[in-house]
C-alpha cells in the first residue's frame, strides 16, 4: 500500500487522542422484515403480482437487484493520496458460499486501471530462455487450460489493525481478499515452450500499467502452480483485475499477482524491485526487515455477526465466516463467544480447496447478553491462526503486512457489533 506509514501514524495519533466522538458507528442499512409494506403481506396480493415484469434483454448483462445496491466495494479515502494508487475492500459481510462475484473483488492499483484492447495485448518472455517469444491473447487461449479456485489476499489486509482496533467494519479490516475460479495457462507449459535455461532461478513479472508493476518470483514457485489467467468465474477478467491477462501466484501475497501482465524475464538472481524492498517487507523491532515474505498464513473472519451485521433479535442465529490459508487446505475453524477462553468447532462447507476461501457456519442462540466473538483457523500443515499478542511478541509494532491475527467482534446488548481489541 502506498501510504502505510502515514496511515499508521494517523492511527497512532487517533489512538492517543483517546475517546473521540462516540455514536458515529457506521450505519449499514439493509431492508429487514420490520421495514415491510403491510399491503404486500399475506393475505394481500403483493403489488408486483398482477402485472408483467421486465422481459428478457431488459439487462443484456445481468445486474444485481436494485435492492442490493448497498453491496459494493468501498474505500477509505484517508489511506492514500489518490484513487489511482489505492485500494478498496470486498464486502465479505454480504456474501455467502466461497466464491466472490467478479464485480465485488477488491481493487488494488498502483497506477490506475489501463484500458487494453485485447488485439493489442502481448506477453513477452525474455532472458535466460532458449527462445525469446511473444504471445498474443489468442496464443495463450490455445495452450492447454487449467481451471482453479484460489484466494487472492493483499499482504496489507488488516494492516491498519496492527496497533489497535481502528476501522469498525468487517469489510475494511478483512476485505482485501477475494476468491474466484481462474482459467488460464500453466506457467510450466509456457516455460517448456520458451525452453528455460538451467541457470534461470528467478522470474521478473512485469505489468503494462502506469506503475509497470514488477516482482521477482522464484523458479520453483513458477513451475509449481503459477498460471497466466485470462478468465475469472467463467468470464474474461474484469479490467480492474488485469484484463486481458494476469499472473496467478496461489497462496502468495496479492502484490505478486501482476495484472495486465506484459513480460516475464528469466534471470539468475532477484531483481529487487521497489515493491519487494521498499514495500512488502516487514520491519522488526531491531530495525531489520524480513524480505520475500510471500506466503499468506492461515486466517479467518466471522462475517456475520460483524460490525456491519448486527444481531436483529433474540433466539436462533447463524454465525457465518470465511477461512483460508496460503499453505494449503483449511482443516478446522473454531469459534469463541467469550473472547477466546472457550472454543467450539464450526462446520466447514465444501468443497474445501487448496489455497481457497472456505465457508464455515455455526448456529447459536442469543438471549441478549454481551459477547466477544472470535474465530481461529487451522490448516493442513497444523498452522494455527495466532492472536495479535503472539504476532506482536514475534514482530513488534512496526510491521504492516501479514497481520493474520484473530479479530474480536463485541456484540452489545442491543445487538450492534463493535470491532474491539482485547488485552
Amino acid at each position: 500500500m502506498e501510504k502505510e506509514n502515514k496511515s499508521l501514524s494517523i492511527s497512532r495519533r487517533s489512538l492517543l487522542g483517546g475517546a473521540a466522538a462516540l455514536g458515529t458507528a457506521t450505519a449499514f442499512k439493509t431492508a429487514g422484515a420490520a421495514d415491510a409494506n403491510p399491503d404486500n403481506l399475506p393475505p394481500n396480493v403483493p403489488e408486483w403480482t398482477p402485472y408483467l415484469g421486465a422481459g428478457v434483454d431488459a439487462n443484456p448483462y445481468g445486474m444485481p437487484s436494485e435492492h442490493e445496491a448497498h453491496v459494493v466495494r468501498r474505500n477509505v479515502e484517508w489511506l492514500t493520496a489518490s484513487t489511482e494508487s489505492s485500494v478498496n475492500f470486498t464486502p465479505l459481510h454480504e456474501l455467502d458460499g466461497f466464491v466472490t462475484p467478479n464485480g465485488l473483488c477488491f481493487e488494488r492499483h498502483h497506477g490506475g486501471v489501463p484500458d487494453i484492447n485485447p488485439a493489442d495485448y502481448r506477453l513477452m518472455i525474455n532472458g535466460l530462455v532458449d527462445r525469446e517469444l511473444i504471445f498474443t491473447l489468442d496464443d495463450l487461449r490455445r495452450f492447454p487450460q487449467t481451471n482453479r479456485f484460489y484466494f487472492l489476499e493483499c499482504a496489507a489486509n488488516g494492516g491498519m489493525e496492527w496497533k489497535g482496533a481502528q476501522l469498525n467494519g468487517c469489510q475494511f479490516t478483512f476485505g482485501m481478499v477475494h476468491n474466484v475460479q481462474y482459467s488460464g495457462v500453466r506457467l510450466s507449459d509456457i516455460c517448456r515452450e520458451v525452453g528455460v535455461k538451467p541457470s534461470a532461478k528467478w522470474v521478473l513479472a512485469e505489468g503494462s500499467d502506469s506503475a509497470g508493476m514488477n516482482r521477482s518470483i522464484p523458479m520453483e514457485k513458477i513451475l509449481d502452480d503459477c498460471m497466466i489467467a485470462y478468465a475469472m468465474n467463467g468470464e474474461a477478467l474484469r479490467a480492474e483485475q488485469g484484463y486481458p491477462a494476469r499472473l496467478v501466484v496461489p497462496g502468495w501475497e496479492g502484490n505478486m499477482w501482476v495484472k495486465w501482465i506484459r513480460r516475464l524475464e528469466f534471470g539468475d538472481m532477484p531483481y529487487m524491485a521497489r515493491e519487494e524492498t521498499s514495500k512488502y517487507t516487514d520491519l522488526m523491532e531491531d530495525g531489520k526487515a524480513r524480505m520475500f515474505t510471500w506466503v499468506m498464513d492461515a486466517k479467518s473472519v466471522v462475517t456475520s455477526p460483524s460490525p456491519e451485521k448486527s444481531i436483529l433479535g433474540k433466539g436462533t442465529q447463524l454465525l457465518k465466516g470465511l477461512a483460508w490459508s496460503g499453505r494449503g487446505k483449511i482443516t478446522r475453524v473454531d469459534v469463541s463467544f467469550d473472547g477466546g477462553r472457550n472454543w467450539q468447532t464450526a462446520e466447514l462447507h465444501g468443497p474445501v480447496l487448496d489455497k481457497s476461501l472456505t465457508r464455515f457456519t455455526l448456529p447459536f442462540n442469543w438471549s441478549g447478553e454481551e459477547m466477544l466473538i472470535q474465530s481461529r483457523a487451522i490448516d493442513e500443515t497444523g498452522y494455527v491462526q495466532p492472536t495479535i499478542q503472539q504476532l506482536q511478541a514475534e514482530r513488534g509494532l512496526n510491521s504492516i503486512y501479514h497481520n493474520n491475527s484473530i479479530a474480536t467482534w463485541m456484540v452489545n446488548k442491543d445487538g450492534s457489533v463493535d470491532n474491539v481489541r482485547l488485552g
Binding site: 517469444l133 495452450f143 529487487m272 524492498t277 467469550d338
Partner: protein, 219 residues
Amino acid sequence: MSGLANIMKGGLAALVISAPLFAASFAQAEQRPFGLGQIATIDEVAGWDIDVRPDGLGAPKGTGNAVDGEEVYAERCAACHGDFGEAVDNWPILVGGAGTLKSDDPVKTTGSYWPYSSTLYDYIYRAMPFGEAQSLTHDETYQIVAYLLYMNDIIDDDFEVSQDNIGTIVMPNRDGFMFPDPRPDAQPVSGMVCMKDCDVPTQIIGKARDIDVTPEDES
C-alpha cells in the same frame, strides 16, 4: 539487461547463415511443444526490457549528477514529493529517516530504508512521474537518482551516477534485510490448541468506534 541480450542475439543473427547453426535452430524449433508465439526481435525486447538489477545488469547508458538533478527533480518530482523530498500531503517522503528504523515511528525513505540504488533507477524510470510513466530520458533518471542519493548524504553533489556504478553505490540499509522468511512464527508454545478455559486476555482495551476514522455509509 538488454545490453547483454543484444550482444548475444546480435551474434546469433550474424551467424545464422552458417549451416550448423541453422540446423541447431531448426532442432530447437522442433522442441517447442506447442509451436505458439513468435520469436521476439532484438528491438522488441530492447523496448520493453527496462528493468535494472542490483548488479547493474540492464542499466542503460547514461549519466547524471545531483547538481543537474536538482533542476529535473524540481520540475518533475517536487510537486508531490516536496523540494527536498520531504513529501507533500499524503505522497511518499523520499529523504531523511536515518536512524529511525528501530524507533516506534520509523521513517522509511530511499535513504534510510532502500537497500539498492538500482531500485531507484528501476522504479523512477518505469513508474515516475506518477501518471507520466516512462517519459524520463535515461540521463534525467540518473540525475534524479543522483539528487536523491545526494539529499540522503550518500554521494557528493558532483558524483556522476551512471550505468557503470548504479549497481555498486552502497546504500546505508544494504544489510538491513533478512532472508529467507522465518515463518511460520507466533505458534502455540505448547504445540496444543486450547479449547477450554484458555489463559487469554479478555479486557477490552480499544474500540474502533472510539477511534472514529471509519468511513460513513453513503447510502
